[in-house]
């Protein structure tokens, strides 16, 4: 077969070259195995034979899972391993596997059919329950079912546990639970048919340091199992069956990339300190409790942004207080006392939730989203705040409200929080009475009024992604105007300075959780402006640490002064590049 270029969306950088591993993730289409293959002949030999196959598959599956549990203990820690161990126990449940054997004996079903039937039966029973937390367990059942099916027909769909050498996964889609189980030493990259840049899976890939391309569409159909693949996670490109010289060239790029990563890893263990000895607080943006663990491993001082909407977007119904509480408490526990800033849900806009039935809007970014939803559908916000407050009893939890555009919204949100605190106090439920409460600064009106807000909030967190798009009125996903979208725009920089200065004036602090905080080029400027807390995707922490170690705060202050007098983003970039070139090689 010939060389093939497949273009997708690059969501996690890195160049990787390895064999393709076609992965089918779930039991979704399970029941529909070929109809003629659904039943076995009514002879005792056929029944015995089918039972034997099923038993073998169960034993193989148990063995795989035990290996995976061992692997998980090392890779992601006891907690995730505990989840897998729970799955392993389900395999021995009297209401699960024995029912499959019974169906083969009594209904003469083939082993795959029996597995699919029992899995669907049990999973739909669980899905029908009223408790949100339990509903999620249906996914576990389907997960195990998928494993069993994979063991029954090893040729067709391979589980992740069968991977023994470094590969690039090729899949229709990967669920976050698939992704979190990936071992970065074996799965060096993945390419999927569906998915987008902001998907949970993409974010997880970045925090695990796995190169990833998503949304490749039908292009992936041209990839065969075992084909050599080059995956470029920055360019979003995948080359199947590259020519020899080309492969060699990419192997070299991969080598350089891995070496660089290795050298950056040396930074993870030590705190971020500038050349003049200033300690800088670096935090990670996470979307699930599981990522908190990866963040700690990559050297985060805390969590600067816990995007809670993923908790909601991965569910089929609104997660209840208990389920939310568990997720927040888990993150707090994993961060062992380090700060965890939980942002109340930022849904609406481009993040739809089918079960909320929010109206479609023509201009979603200027519409009904985030705190605007929370202040109307107060039951949602109250449930979330109860869960956050309860989690605050377990560690350094802070909360912040997104999309605040004026003081009245902040005051309303704050008073709802006070009411919820009152309820908990009355119920005798423990929470941190001193929990800090802040706001996201992502709307220019709020940045301009930072001085007024500073008297009332405990902290600010600047969300540059939205702040830039609202300030310059440009959508960075729109190719016609994306050149206008630039966080080095002088107006954006003025706003950032206003916010930081306003907080310092009254002894408070400002963090930043947009992509600007993870850009090494912006680091000297942000240091010079006095940014207190920098929060980014965990994969970026080492690069920023490396950068900060070469910077002197006084020099950066002077640089910031110079930059704030410049009139175009281009001039700002030039100044930063010149500064960067003059101080350290970059």
């Amino acid at each position: 077969m010939n060389r093939l270029d497949i273009q997708g969306i690059g969501v996690s950088e890195g160049v990787r070259i390895a064999k393709a591993y076609i992965y089918k993730s779930s039991v979704g289409a399970s029941g529909e195995s070929s109809p003629e293959g659904n039943y076995i002949p009514d002879t005792s030999a056929a029944v015995q034979d089918e039972l034997h196959k099923l038993r073998e598959a169960k034993a193989g599956c148990a063995e795989q899972m035990e290996k995976l549990i061992e692997k998980a203990k090392e890779a992601v820690g006891e907690e995730q391993a505990g989840i897998l161990a729970g799955h392993r126990k389900l395999l021995d449940d009297p209401a699960f596997y024995p029912k499959m054997e019974a169906r083969i004996r009594e209904k003469l079903e083939t082993a795959p059919r029996a597995v699919a039937e029992v899995v669907n039966q049990v999973a739909s029973m669980i899905e029908g329950m009223s408790n949100d937390y339990m509903k999620e367990r249906a996914t576990d059942i389907r997960d195990i079912g998928g494993r069993l099916l994979a063991c029954l027909s090893p040729g067709q769909s391979q589980g992740l546990a069968g991977i023994t050498e470094p590969v690039i996964l090729v899949a229709d889609d990967l669920t976050p639970s698939d992704t979190v189980q990936l071992d970065p030493a074996l799965v060096v990259g993945f390419i999927t048919r569906t998915g987008g840049a902001t998907s949970h899976t993409a974010i997880l890939a970045r925090s695990l340091g796995i190169a990833a391309v998503v949304g490749a569409g039908d292009g992936i159909d041209g990839i065969g199992d075992g084909d050599l693949l080059v995956l470029d996670g920055s360019a979003g490109l995948c080359i199947a069956r590259p020519e020899a010289a080309e492969a060699e060239q990419h192997r070299l790029r991969m080598q350089q990339d891995l070496e660089r990563r290795q050298s950056l890893e040396d930074y993870t263990a030590r705190p971020a300190v500038t050349a003049d000895g200033t300690r800088v607080e670096l935090a990670a943006n996470i979307g699930s409790a599981a990522e908190a663990e990866a963040a700690v491993r990559q050297g985060a001082d805390g969590v600067g942004l816990f995007r809670t909407e993923f908790l909601f977007m991965n569910a089929t119904a609104m997660p209840g207080e208990e389920e939310q509480f568990r997720a927040y408490q888990e993150a707090a526990r994993l961060m062992v006392g380090r700060p965890v800033i939980i942002r109340t849900m930022d849904i609406g806009g481009d993040k739809e939730l089918p079960y909320l039935q929010l109206p479609k809007e023509t201009n979603p970014f200027l519409g009904y989203r985030a705190i605007r939803v929370g202040l109307v559908r107060q039951e949602l916000l109250r449930t979330q705040l109860r869960a956050v407050l309860r989690a605050s009893a377990f560690g350094g939890v802070k909360v912040m409200f997104p999309m605040i555009s004026g003081l009245q919204e902040w005051r309303q949100a704050r008073s709802i929080l006070a009411e919820v605190q009152g309820e908990l106090r009355e119920e005798g439920v423990p929470f941190d009475e001193k929990m800090e409460v802040g706001i996201m600064v992502e709307i220019p009106s709020t940045a301009v009024l930072a001085g007024l807000f500073a008297d009332e909030v405990d902290f600010f967190s600047i969300g540059t992604n939205d702040l830039v798009q609202y300030t310059v009125a440009a959508d960075r996903m729109n190719e016609h105007v994306s050149h206008l979208y630039d966080y080095f725009h002088p107006a954006v920089l003025q706003l950032i300075r206003t916010v930081i200065d306003a907080s310092h004036k009254v002894g408070k602090w400002t963090g930043m959780c947009g992509s600007m905080a993870g850009d090494p080029l912006a680091a000297p400027l942000l240091l010079g402006l006095g940014l207190d807390e920098w929060s980014m995707e965990a994969g970026r922490l080492s690069s920023i640490k490396e950068r900060l170690e070469g910077l002197d705060r006084a020099e950066c202050r002077d640089l910031a002064e110079r930059i704030l007098r410049l009139d175009t983003p281009q001039a700002v970039r030039q100044e930063l590049e010149a500064f960067c070139g003059a101080t350290i090689p970059c």
Partner: protein, 89 residues
Amino acid sequence: MFTQTVTIQNEQGFHVRPAQLFSEKAGQFGGEVRLKTNEGRSADGKSMLELMTLGIEQGAVVTIEANGDGEQEVVEALIQLVESKFGEA
């Protein structure tokens, strides 16, 4: 056969973790263990899946029934587990 009734006290009822702890304890027993609700539904005490799909909520009264050698001990141990609210706060 030995039976005894108990009230479910923990806030979330018989969810995943209680079902797991219960089935593990029951699983150590050689004989049969069943858990029955007031409405006449019942589950294999050794099956976490059956236990959790009963959807037993806080305040429900259930009967634990065991059959076999040491039946009284296993029922008492399970009652104690339920009464400890499965170690939850």
